[in-house]
């Protein structure tokens, strides 16, 4: 179970939300994350893609226990972090960090950049006083900011610079795993490329392992070694990046890849086979993608497909893999 080359192993992770009403509680849960399993090797980047509401962010937060999962196991270096008590989790926190999507909301506007980046160093008693300031300056340098930026406040920075601050905070305690949740989605195109380059440089310099969550397939393909595709709380396909783009096996993945706008006007896509969007009803039997699937058959309505290996670490959850 705990082979050493895996930094993170997630097994049967579930996160259900229950709607509470004033006089009754609707016990039919929203299955934001519904029984997903995957592993990430040390130094590897796993991209997690899917459309809004597919559960990718909830999955990322559940793994670091920023939200408490409903059930499942999450092994970080062989330790099931869902079994840890507060103190145990606190000790492990520096090793696992999170980068948020919105660089405007995730930084405390009343704290100076130096305090934001140095807070972890102080809390975890790594450094304080002058030594802390020196460490902060060094970290700011690593993310392309100037040491004197430590004295400024977040509002003085542009979106891209703020995301650099968020990244500086995440790497301040020498983490091994970083969960990055749509780290460039809020940024302009030219700034996105700068931040992606920074994340790739830091991965190489610091030997980081990423779970990279995004809705943008181009970006995920660029940065990831392997890619996992989610749909309505389930994982429908996992494969090496090149392999996934060369032979997408799940009909949903095929539709997603076809929908990416090409950057070549001579190759304009002609056909988009996806059926009309459809409001998900959770808790139904069968394959969740079946109502939108162009190849749906009777079996898909009654029997849920499991994620099965189709060779070369290419996993697909579909009864009728072409």
């Amino acid at each position: 179970m705990t082979e050493n080359n895996y930094l993170l192993q997630v097994e049967h992770l579930r996160k259900y939300f229950y709607r509470e009403k004033l006089f009754s509680s609707d016990r039919k849960p929203i299955r934001a994350v519904d029984d997903i399993s995957f592993s990430i090797r040390r130094g590897e980047t796993l991209g997690l893609v899917g459309e809004s509401g597919c559960g990718k962010t909830t999955a990322g937060k559940s793994i670091l226990r920023l939200v408490e999962p409903t059930s499942g196991r999450v092994f970080f270096k062989g330790i099931n972090i869902l079994d840890l008590n507060r103190e145990g989790l606190r000790k492990l926190r520096p090793r696992m960090q999170f980068i948020f999507q919105d660089p405007y909301e995730s930084l405390n506007p009343r704290m100076r950049v130096g305090e934001i980046v140095g807070e972890g160093l102080e809390i975890h008693r790594v450094a304080r006083g002058k030594e802390k300031d020196e460490r902060v300056a060094e970290i700011l340098g690593k993310v392309g900011l100037h040491p004197r930026d430590a004295m400024r406040y977040p509002h003085e920075f542009s979106g891209g610079q703020r995301q650099r601050i968020g990244i500086a905070r995440a790497i301040s305690l020498h983490p091994e795993l970083i969960v990055a949740d749509e780290p460039v989605s809020a940024l302009d195109v030219s700034i996105q490329a700068q931040i992606l380059n920074l994340l790739m440089d830091l991965r190489d310099q610091l030997g980081l392992t990423y779970l990279f969550i995004s809705h943008d397939l181009r970006i995920v393909k660029h940065i990831s070694d392997r890619i996992a595709v989610m749909y309505l709380g389930k994982m429908v396909e996992v494969a090496h990046g090149e392999d996934l783009f060369r032979r997408p096996l799940h009909p949903y993945t095929q539709i997603l890849l076809q929908a990416i706008p090409r950057l070549d006007p001579s190759g304009r896509s002609q056909e988009v086979p996806a059926r009309e969007e459809f409001r998900p009803v959770s808790g139904e039997e069968g394959c969740l993608f079946q109502p939108r699937c162009p190849h749906s058959k009777e079996r898909c309505q009654t029997e849920e497909p499991f994620l099965l290996d189709h060779g070369e670490e290419h996993f697909v959850a579909c009864h009728f893999v072409a």
Binding site: Q192, A193, L196, L217, P265, S266, V272
Partner: protein
């Protein structure tokens, strides 16, 4: 193109007077668009693309905004000299606009049918019953399933893609000659985006309507536009037919934008990112506004704003060294 342009914009300049100084949002922008053409204004946040769209409809909040200079000729008449009353007859009728976030543009307390009918009744002399019939037809046209039932839905009862379709239906209800679409698919998921773009293109063809598509996404541009104008810091820096621009970019900013996007085919490595940041709009650099970030810059770039150079046909670039670019 022998066709007479539907809309001609000449030297449009829109400024905002703020506490921090004058924001030169749009500076000396000129372009035109013919009937049945899709022109895309592309650029990053703050480049002036949305302000250009709003200026055409005279929807710039004033104060602080003000159209300082220019002419906006729609079928030969200058919109900038029209009285507000006359302008109301143009808005929503001859020129309509759709916005990025359908939820903030639709009124949550009225059904989508009410909102579509309001536009029809306002501009065309027909009764309620006929207006309702027209609204159902137009909902059907934007491929909303069972429009007879959906017409009585409230915006919150629809999904994001359906709401954007309802917005498009409302904008098209009076058969405008020009549609200004400001980031119409940015808030949508990629599969829904593909459907909505395709719908826009189909309807545009059927109705022979002209479209100004405002977007930050070169992928969307490549997918549906006929012509492109790339904006940076309030100016058009490069413009031309889509094949010409994507075939041979002649401005370092356009090239930088394209190279910032990861390619699907290539092996991964560092992206060719544009260094630096978009300049502060109250404190723009002298000369070419892009020169501090440009890999081709020479001393001359700081001296004066470069003019638009003709690359070929109607492909223009505002770069002194356009011949060396790309």
């Amino acid at each position: 193109m022998i066709k007479k342009p539907l809309l001609e914009i000449r030297s449009l300049t829109t400024h905002f007077l703020t506490e921090d100084g004058v924001v030169r949002a749009v500076e000396d922008v000129s372009f035109d668009i013919s009937p049945g053409e899709i022109l895309s204004l592309v650029g990053e946040s703050g480049c002036g693309k949305s302000v250009t769209g709003l200026s055409i409809l005279k929807l710039i909040p004033s104060p602080p905004g003000q159209i300082i200079n220019g002419d906006i000729l729609f079928e030969g008449k200058n919109l900038l000299t029209l009285e507000e009353k006359e302008m109301e007859r143009v808005r929503g009728n001859e020129i309509s606009m759709i916005f990025q976030e359908p939820m903030t543009s639709l009124n949550p307390v009225f059904t989508i049918g009410n909102q579509i009918m309001e536009a029809i009744e306002l501009h065309q002399k027909i009764d309620k019953k006929e207006a309702r019939q027209r609204a159902i037809e137009i909902l059907d046209r934007v491929r909303i399933p069972s429009p007879e039932a959906r017409i009585d839905s409230y915006p919150h009862q629809l999904s994001g893609g359906m709401r954007q379709r309802a917005m498009i239906a409302m904008a098209l209800s009076c058969r405008p000659k020009l549609l200004i679409a400001d980031e119409p698919t940015t808030a949508l998921d990629v599969t829904i985006q593909a459907q909505v773009l395709r719908l826009l293109k189909e309807i545009q063809r059927e109705m022979g309507m002209a479209v100004i598509l405002i977007t930050h996404d070169l992928g969307v541009v490549a997918e549906i536009a006929d012509r492109v104008a790339v904006m940076y810091a309030g100016r058009i820096v490069e413009s031309g037919p889509i094949e010409s621009i994507f075939g041979q970019m002649r401005h370092p900013y356009t090239r930088g934008l394209l190279e910032s996007i990861p390619q699907l085919g290539e092996k991964k490595g560092r992206l060719n990112a544009i260094p630096g940041q978009v300049p502060n709009p109250t404190d723009l650099p002298a000369g070419c506004k892009f020169h501090p970030r440009c890999y081709l810059r020479i001393d001359e770039c700081q001296r004066g704003e470069p003019p638009l150079f003709q690359v070929q046909g109607n492909h223009y670039s505002r770069c002194l060294r356009w011949k060396e670019c790309c």
